[in-house]
């Protein structure tokens, strides 16, 4: 099957004062339709730069990126590319254009010259998907952070993209807001088969991904399932990442004993493994 995003020998450096410094260095990977990807890595490892390369805000210095078979260097089809890959950024305040929720969601369809009756339907559908329909006529500045970010997502959904990139979209939100946004991501991936690329520093979010891409200084260190990533001690040390709190908790609590079992990713698994270990101790005692 043709991958949705195909990155080949990608190099990138900024053309300003940092010129010459390779921000991305020979990246090769592809992403299939319907995948849930997490990209993690230290500050300055080039994640945001990569996100902006996916939808042709930046263009590769060398190498190629194909989005749904279209080269991002193709200037004529640039809107086609941006329609396929939407990006939700970190600060909801800086990506909402209009004062009213419905007007903001309508921004992209307006740019794409969609007719008036159709825009109405698109706006309703997009707000429905993020569960913000009752705020359709509200002013954006009266909403909470999580609600604003969901409006921003609706603004992207209005383009009906095949893939949505979340660039630290939950990092400015409180736990409630973060859960709201995360739930929207999961729902979109499950129900619409939208490809989700979640760039994040929160390891608890990484757990939901099918595949994790670990980056460091513009290079990919490893791509694998969350479980394999978090059981790779060397990799974690090298990339400066910490496993999720539950994983760390169990490892610290039980040490060798836990490592011999399996890497746990959430609270339920942690409880299970703890029970197994306690069971084992009992048998050992008697």
């Amino acid at each position: 099957m043709r991958p949705l995003i195909d990155v080949n020998g990608l190099h990138f450096s900024y053309l300003n004062e940092n010129f010459g410094k390779e921000v991305l260095n020979d990246l090769n990977f592809s992403i299939q339709q319907g995948e849930f990807i997490a990209i993690v890595g230290h500050n300055g490892s080039g994640k945001s730069t990569l996100a902006k390369l996916f939808n042709a805000i930046f263009l590769p210095t060398s190498g190629t990126i194909f989005v749904d078979g279209i080269d991002t260097l193709n200037k004529e089809l640039i809107f086609e590319i941006r329609k396929q890959v939407g990006v939700v950024f970190q600060n909801p305040d800086n990506q909402i254009v209009a004062t009213l929720v419905e007007e903001d969601v309508a921004f992209a369809p307006e740019n794409l010259c969609v007719s008036q009756e159709k825009i109405g339907k698109i706006v309703d559908r997009a707000l429905e998907m993020v569960d913000m329909k009752k705020f359709k006529k509200s002013a954006v500045h009266t909403l909470s952070g999580g609600q604003k970010q969901r409006v921003a997502i609706a603004g992207i959904l209005a383009m009906n993209p095949k893939c949505i990139v979340f660039d630290e979209s939950t990092s400015m939100l409180d736990p409630v807001g973060r859960k709201e946004v995360l739930d929207v991501m999961k729902k979109l991936n499950r129900e619409n088969k939208t490809t989700i690329i979640n760039i994040t520093h929160h390891m608890e979010e990484v757990v939901f991904a099918n595949r994790v891409i670990v980056m460091k200084d513009g290079e990919i260190l490893k791509q694998d399932t969350p479980r394999n990533i978090f059981s790779d001690e060397d990799l974690l040390k090298k990339s400066g990442l910490l496993a999720p709190q539950v994983t760390e908790f169990l490892n610290t609590l039980c040490g060798e004993l836990a490592l011999k079992k399996r890497t746990v990713l959430d609270v339920d698994e942690c409880v299970e493994v703890l029970a197994e270990i306690l069971e084992g101790e009992k048998i050992g005692d008697s």
């Binding site: 941006r82 990006v87 254009v97 004062t99 369809p109 010259c113 008036q116 500045h141 603004g155 383009m159």
Partner: protein, 268 residues
């Protein structure tokens, strides 16, 4: 608090004024302001003032809101009034004390200026209170559309205005945060003379500008990501249309303004 300043804010409602087409309201406001600067009889100012008060009553917006907008410029207004009173010497003296004398011309002139500024704020605030920013920009866009023929960037200007209005509440919140941050470092902006206070604005405005530029940068990327292109063709989510109400209002308003001008010409 600066949060109380409500310039450019919309107040939800369903009054006659809310339902008018933005173009009707913009034109009415502009002609009202023109009238303000053309009339020179005190009675007409009183008339204009009551007209605005009636409008505020109709749309049920409390005067407290607009008074908050007047507050920041009140010191300047009072200062200029005092200077006017002292400096203007022609006309007959009504009252004199030592070297000072108040002339009837001075009092008249001062009152005129005072009324003009206050009514200017009252009327322009009323426009934004009753009109959604999007409608306002759409109205302006429609009205300056003919200029597109001479390559005037109509859509871009409209987009700029709507974004500016959109960011007013955001920047006000940010200014408040910056003030708090500076205060917590022992920064004092409540005391001192005029010059000292003016200097105090620097540590507030500088970070505010830096933040605004950073925001603008991010917003530009976000807009491009959503397929915006400067000078590109766009459609509109909602369109404007004149209704019967607009015609009635425009005719009525025109009649009132004509009456004011007539009074101004004949009763002085």
């Amino acid at each position: 608090m600066i949060r109380d300043i409500t310039i450019g804010q919309y107040v939800c409602g369903n009054s006659v004024l809310h339902r008018l087409d933005p173009r009707t309201k913009i034109l009415s406001t502009v002609s009202y302001i023109f009238a303000l600067f053309l009339i020179d009889s005190l009675w007409c100012y009183v008339l204009n003032f009551s007209l605005i008060l009636i409008f505020y009553l109709i749309c049920g917006i409390s005067l407290k809101m607009v008074l908050n907008n007047v507050k920041p410029i009140l010191p300047i207004l009072i200062l200029t009034s005092i200077i006017n009173l002292c400096v203007i010497r022609d006309g007959e003296a009504v009252f004199s004390f030592w070297i000072f004398s108040l002339t009837d011309r001075a009092i008249f002139f001062t009152l005129t200026i005072f009324f003009r500024i206050i009514l200017l704020i009252f009327s322009s605030s009323l426009l934004t209170y009753t009109t959604l920013p999007v409608d306002l920009t759409r109205g302006i866009e429609k009205m300056i559309k003919p200029l597109a023929k001479i390559r005037f960037p109509v859509e871009e200007i409209a987009m700029m205005i709507s974004i500016a209005l959109r960011f007013i509440p955001t920047l006000i919140l940010e200014a408040e945060k910056i003030i708090c941050a500076q205060k917590s470092r022992g920064f004092n902006m409540e005391t001192g003379g005029f010059i000292k206070r003016a200097k105090c604005m620097v540590p507030i405005l500088l970070p505010l500008f830096v933040c605004a530029f950073k925001r603008a940068d991010e917003l530009a990327v976000a807009m491009e990501s959503r397929c915006y292109r400067v000078g590109g063709q766009r459609t509109s989510y909602k369109t404007l249309s004149f209704k019967k109400l607009d015609i009635f209002f425009a005719l009525g308003f025109l009649a009132v303004l004509t009456m004011v001008f007539m009074i101004n010409a004949f009763f002085r």
